[in-house]
């Protein structure tokens, strides 16, 4: 496979992951005690968790030569994980803590037009995952999963053509290439999730949050880091990393 395609695929995938993380509503430790809106865990951790499910579903589609299908499978897996996690998280907010999902960053939910401020517990910055945050999280999951799928596809197909990574007799898929491509995609996921996490600086509610305006800076940082990572990925193909 063309080395330029591999490097560009890793770069584009990294940008999709880094950009997608900005969409995911994470409230960190404050959200875990119902003091801030969003999912009650760290940015990088939730994005990585979603990305891993996307990677598993993308890799399950390895037998397909269709890049778009692998990206869609990754996107669906990642968004599914984030969707179920946010939904069950809301169950705990609504029935375990007994608070109304609401945001203190906007007066009105941009999607449902529901009023927010009256439902925020005094002294907090909101709690739970209102519809706008949920939809934003799904978009983030789709972007991250598609990016992970793209990286996996590019590296798998680059490695699988090499004799040392050839599929075992009787097998159509090279498990060696799939494993290395999977580990590499996992690494790229963490790199870009952490960079985006630094750019966000703790908590973000989604695309309606004022912090979302920092997205271009985060994309630029992810572009640079992913470009370097893509070059390292090409070293893997050359055998320089072993």
């Amino acid at each position: 496979m063309d080395p330029l395609f591999l490097i560009l695929a890793v770069t584009a995938g990294g940008i999709a992951i880094g950009g997608g993380v900005h969409f995911i509503p994470v409230g960190g430790a404050p959200a875990a005690i119902a003091t801030a809106t969003g999912v009650g865990t760290g940015t990088a951790m939730l994005a990585a968790g979603g990305g891993m499910t996307g990677l598993i579903t993308a890799a399950a589609a390895t037998s397909s030569p269709n890049l778009l299908l692998i990206m869609l499978a990754g996107a669906a897996g990642s968004a599914l994980m984030l969707g179920i996690t946010m939904l069950v998280g809301n169950w705990v907010y609504v029935w375990g803590v007994a608070c109304v999902p609401s945001s203190a960053k906007v007066d009105v939910d941009p999607i449902t037009k529901y009023e927010q401020s009256k439902y925020v517990t005094p002294g907090t910055e909101g709690h739970g995952i209102p519809t706008v945050c949920f939809v934003s999280g799904i978009i983030g999951g789709l972007l991250g999963g598609a990016g992970g799928g793209l990286i996996y596809y590019a590296l798998y197909n680059s490695l699988a053509t090499l004799p040392v990574y050839a599929a075992l007799p009787g097998a159509s898929i090279s498990i060696f290439a799939a494993t290395v491509a999977g580990i590499f995609a996992l690494g790229v996921f963490f790199v870009n999730a952490v960079i985006a996490s630094y750019n966000i600086g703790g908590t973000i509610e989604g695309f309606h949050d004022p912090k979302f305006k920092r997205l271009p800076r985060g994309i630029l940082a992810c572009l640079i880091a992913s470009l370097v990572t893509g070059i390292v990925g090409y070293l893997l193909v050359l055998g320089g990393a072993f």
């Binding site: 119902a34 003091t35 009650g40 951790m45 979603g50 589609a61 299908l69 803590v97 517990t121």
Partner: protein, 303 residues
């Protein structure tokens, strides 16, 4: 010979069941070890003058921790299955047992490190807290790693819709990271948002002004992390199990249920991925209904 799709659905259901048990145990492990984000309040409490007997081992993110334990268990099981040719169940149990030993060493050192760092606020290190909590921490961790390696092994079976290209240890790491992210995002809110602040009225978020004033009294004597687990096992743990079980169950619909539409070329994947997108849209609608329910049932806060 059973229909391969029916057999595949059976395996997916078994994986979902293992995942449900793993998810519930994972959340309870993070409650008894105070592993996740609510631990910020346990860490803050001595600085606010609130000395406590809560276990405290949050020196890493919960996903990374569970990824490490599942990876250790998966690697050891992989070696036992392939190199020593031991039975699969015995190998997975062996791997989970080794991971539990590492888990105990981690829990001991991280708790002592965390508590000793707070000695400047006069927080004592209770040795009985260390010894009493290690068993439940290792036990819950064992259930998690055993279930995760078990379901990862099922994924690698040469069945239609399975035969995942990733090897057992890597799958275990990936699911370990995922289950940590889910446990940290769902069940732990029950610990942080409710159990940690039980002396305050039920029915609202935790205002910043009371941060660090965690509940330190139990039904009898001083509260420890075992009391936290008794409470969270009633709601936070089971819903976490449901979340992880549903994710594992549905994520395999893309390859197993999609095969109902045909087995030629990309047809199963196209249909399976389409089904996942429909489920995602349904999740958005269900979440909105829950939000509306809460708004109508609880109403706005009084000024």
């Amino acid at each position: 010979m059973a229909d391969p799709i029916i057999a595949g659905l059976g395996v997916v259901a078994l994986m979902g069941a293992a995942a449900t048990i793993a998810g519930a145990a994972e959340d309870l492990e993070s409650d008894v070890g105070s592993m996740s984000n609510p631990n910020s309040q346990v860490q803050l409490a001595p600085q606010m003058g609130n000395l406590h007997r809560i276990f405290n081992k949050a020196v890493s993110g919960e996903p990374v921790q569970m990824g490490a334990w599942a990876g250790i268990a998966g690697s050891v099981a992989f070696v036992l299955i392939n190199a020593l040719q031991l039975p699969v169940i015995m190998s997975i149990a062996g791997g989970a047992a080794i991971a539990a030993l590492v888990h105990v060493a981690f829990a001991t050192t991280s708790h002592m490190g965390r508590i000793v760092s707070q000695s400047q606020f006069n927080q004592p290190l209770f040795m009985d807290v260390v010894t009493q909590h290690l068993g439940p921490i290792a036990g819950h961790g064992f259930i998690v790693t055993f279930s995760i390696v078990g379901l990862s092994y099922l994924m690698t079976l040469p069945l239609q819709g399975f035969a995942h290209p990733f090897p057992l240890p890597f799958l275990a790491v990936l699911w370990g990271i995922t289950i940590g992210a889910i446990g940290s995002s769902t069940g732990d809110i029950h610990y942080g948002g409710e159990r940690e602040y039980q002396q305050y009225p039920f029915g609202g978020g935790i205002p910043v002004a009371i941060h660090g004033d965690i509940t330190r009294k139990a039904e009898l004597g001083a509260r420890n992390s075992m009391d936290v687990v008794y409470f969270c096992a009633k709601y936070g743990g089971p819903v976490t199990g449901f979340a992880f079980g549903a994710i594992v169950f549905f994520s395999f619909w893309s390859t197993v249920v999609g095969a109902l539409a045909g087995s030629s070329g990309d047809t199963p994947l196209i249909w399976g991925t389409g089904i996942l997108f429909v489920i995602i849209i349904l999740l958005i609608i269900i979440n909105n209904r829950i939000e509306v329910f809460a708004r109508e049932k609880y109403g706005p806060y009084k000024e």
